[in-house]
Symmetry: C6
Subunit: 232 residues, 6 copies
């Protein structure tokens, strides 16, 4: 279970681990309307026959892949519950529709992620689900590391990268003043790319770092002042 | 991500950019009942066969078109979430139903728009979605430019166009007095067309600029007084 | 966009205009469960084939007819949103399911109506929809005109028609005392027909004008007193 | 439009009028889940063909029957709205699914009923529906008439019938003390039948008149005291 | 209409009456998702043909059976409403889907039951439904009778049966102190069986009588004290 | 009916009893969207034929297996209600769709479980369901037993196992200070495995015991202090 703010690199971390472990990776973006069938599989009608088609979870279970459920808190209960027999000593996936029970191939792993700072009211993981996972808490990288990432990913020079990370730090400190979400490393890379392509740094920060965060005029003004102070 | 009030020209702006960039444009008007299948595609039964039919998003991804999702805030979570792998470094669209993963053709771009002044309660873009876009804020054009647009689009003479824009300015200032939405350039063009076709300017303003904005008798009265003062 | 109370003649007005303009008229009564497919069309299975069947809106768009959406406020968002590309400079109807885009034939017009006095909570037209229409506000006819209509439509004599219209005026003034809806011209015609068929005028007014308006004993009593005072 | 309490004879009245007018009668009990298709008709698959099957309303429209919609307030909006073009000067039923428009045969009549004393919150007939009907208000019969009905329908002797009606009068007066619904003539007939079949009158009144009305111990006690006082 | 607490023998009573009357019995457990089609029947596709299949209610109507709808309050309105024409002088079941009207065979009877002490908020039988039934109120048997039942059904000796019934009486008196539901005769039989199979009486009472009633530690403690006092 | 906190071994207990009794076990994880059809069975279309397929409950009933419904409180009413005729003296499963009534084979048993400490608002078992079961209350094992389990399941040495159990005891006592769920034996086994694979004990406790329990910074801090105090 990976906990961390949006854009801090959860997906990249899982992809890196899959590469390090030499295992295939199956990624599913969870949402409100994701059903258990979307994960496990369904019967399709093909040329007058009904054919069973494995869903992404079932494929991962059979192949011993790493299955990554992104933003799992969004999924409905029935999606979550199919994970239970896979995540205790049983390590198996019963498929109700076919009556088959698939034993997880060696190497199968289940990774889920969510953003604890973003509150979806009345929807949370049940204790019986949470207690099936070991948790790793991720945050934004330390400033020097984050600046190195921004420089490499965006192609901007080191000084600008450091300045962008410093701006991010100041904006992130607005959290206590009502900013619902703080700018991610991803936004800094986006701003860096705009700068690298020839757009002015203030304009780039406004378009890529500030404007995506809020529609509130007061908060937008406060953040723009931070940009102006940073890049006079 | 284009932010701006209704009728300020967001769709026209995207069409212009598509023309400037020489790329095909795929436009989708989002709404409450738009499902991920509507965007991505679905299986249809044709002559005893099930045939996969790409949705508009998938077509745009394959062709390297610009895909424009109008009023994206209206769409359901599952629609939004399919955009995620397309809008980070992966630039790919996994199609769960077929198991295919479509890599975005060069030139593919995703543009979304919404009206931050129009509040849809309890429905907003999640931070993890917002932070995947660079934002451009649009407003109504400066009065001289808006008057030129009104004159050219409606065929009304320049003086009337200026007067219509001035009326719009006064009505827009009623926002603080409870007017939920202010008249757009589109409404001014509609009024101009009525005038150009021979209808009196006061009648045209009432029908095209005032009456569409509200059903509240007090607000309607206040706006009609502005019309009367403007065109005595 | 026609705004006006129930039974004031909105549908008749549209029918008259269609006749004057010599154009076919397609009328759709909107409701809660009207889907975009009901308007645009759907695939039907016929003899082992799937056949596309145009909905009423698509037929009107192809034929250049006037399409009249009655009580449009009742419809769901997805119904409303399909109207957007038809109601700006594009004048086209994209049909997602077939991938076809139908250009509106010359003469195609879209008319919508609603009753601003009847409040459907939490359901209103979005600004981006309202600002695509020119609005005409309709009310009940002036008393002499209304009496002439009642006389001609119901076959009642002129004096009774005048009296019925006067009764309606008095009942309509009860609006401020809690009457949710006032009697329409349609109800007066119904009362006139009962009188013309031999039923006493007080009985006719109670059955056709008073009783349909409310179930509240106090309001019913007040209205019956008005009838008794009018026709002693 | 028939208004009246449950069990006062609305359905019997319509059946009698159909018999008097010599017209066929089509009765539909409305409920929450009654869709427009249930009324108008639907496509069914029969032997590899899709066949259209008229619903009860369409059958009545074609045959010139009286169509009686019982407890119409229960029905959903889409059911109600299909009645609109049938209940104004147009007298026609457009069937969206087939594109057919059925003109009402001569003699077709639409009767709706509801119980104004039974409140279904947030669900009421819209004014635009109510104002399409002439209303008849029904109540319980006068005591001598009600006693005659009870005697004839149940086979009980005249004295008992009079006593049952008097008991009903006393129970009905409890309405102001919190009794949600008062005993109908139907309940008195049920009690009379029990008596006629040999059950004691107090037991019959408790089982057929009192117990069906409430589960509230206080109200049940008060009503049982009325029975005991009536039949000591 | 049978009213009574859970486990007091409503189903057994109906089965006994069916046996006494020599009529077949059709039992339906009602629930939230029981549709009218579940009761009346539906079209099924069999070997390229659509075949109508009677539901349990229709079968009972045709055969003159007793149809018993258990916990009828749980059912949805559309289920309830199909009962109306069966439960007045018409005694017939119109099947909308087939257009057939089935007359009830002689001996057909409809029995419904519910538990008035268990409140399902906002869901109750409508007056127009309640007033179609004669009501019988059932409670728990008198202590000696209940002890005899417990002894015979569980195989426990008479003294223990009397003690179990006395315990039940004390627990039932906790109702005023917040116990939502009191122990039924069924629970006493279950406890008796445990005792008869060799389990200690205190353990049996805790497992079969106390623990099923509540999760509230205070109430559980109070009830366990009653057990300890009863069987020291 | 098994009551107990998450991860205390309810599923293992049922599996052990099935093994002791030599009976097959059918386990169903209940959730919000589990329908009665999912349990009982459904018609599937196979090669132009409709074939009935038993659901897991029906299979268990036919084979005389133990059917275990895990977290039964999550299931919908229609799922629950199909259990009723199976759980009284009738011991039968009526299958509405086929008209078949399956008598439970000897040895068939129904076990349900839920976690009384985890509150699902407005959703609880109805009394008429609860009173069909004998209840067994399970808790966490006594410390020495729990330490033995942790040592054997995780491969950690006995001293660490004892320390992990002591930590669990301290964290469990935080329940009164707002911790919604306490760490289960399962979490201790997970921590033990991490330690056994070479990870430091503090890091292992944070990842496997503390972080899965809460996202609240204050609670997380308090729990980490307990870890630091335990393993300095």
């Amino acid at each position: 279970m990976l906990k961390g703010p949006t854009g801090c690199g959860k997906t990249r971390f899982v992809e890196h681990m899959a590469w390090r472990l030499g295992r295939p990776l199956v990624t599913v973006s969870c949402h409100d309307d994701l059903t258990a069938s979307d994960l496990v599989g369904r019967f399709l009608i093909r040329h007058d026959e009904t054919v069973w088609q494995d869903g992404p979870l079932t494929r991962a279970v059979r192949e011993g892949a790493i299955c990554y459920l992104d933003e799992v808190v969004e999924a409905r209960q029935d999606t979550i519950v199919v994970l239970h027999p896979l995540t205790d000593y049983r390590r198996m996936l019963p498929i109700d529709r076919t009556g088959e029970t698939v034993e997880a191939a060696p190497g199968f792993q289940l990774v889920i992620s969510y953003n604890p700072g973003y509150q979806r009211m009345l929807k949370d993981l049940k204790p019986s689900t949470r207690q099936r996972f070991v948790a790793i808490e991720l945050g934004f990288p330390e400033p020097p590391a984050e600046a190195a990432i921004v420089a490499r990913e965006s192609g901007v020079d080191g000084g600008t990268a450091v300045a962008l990370v410093e701006l991010a730090g100041r904006v992130r400190s607005l959290r206590d003043r009502g900013l619902a979400e703080v700018p991610s490393t991803r936004l800094l890379v986006a701003a860096g790319r705009l700068v690298a392509s020839g757009i002015g740094v203030r304009e780039a920060c406004n378009a890529a770092v500030i404007a995506p965060l809020s529609d509130d005029p007061t908060l937008l003004g406060a953040m723009r002042e931070l940009v102006d102070a940073m890049f006079p």
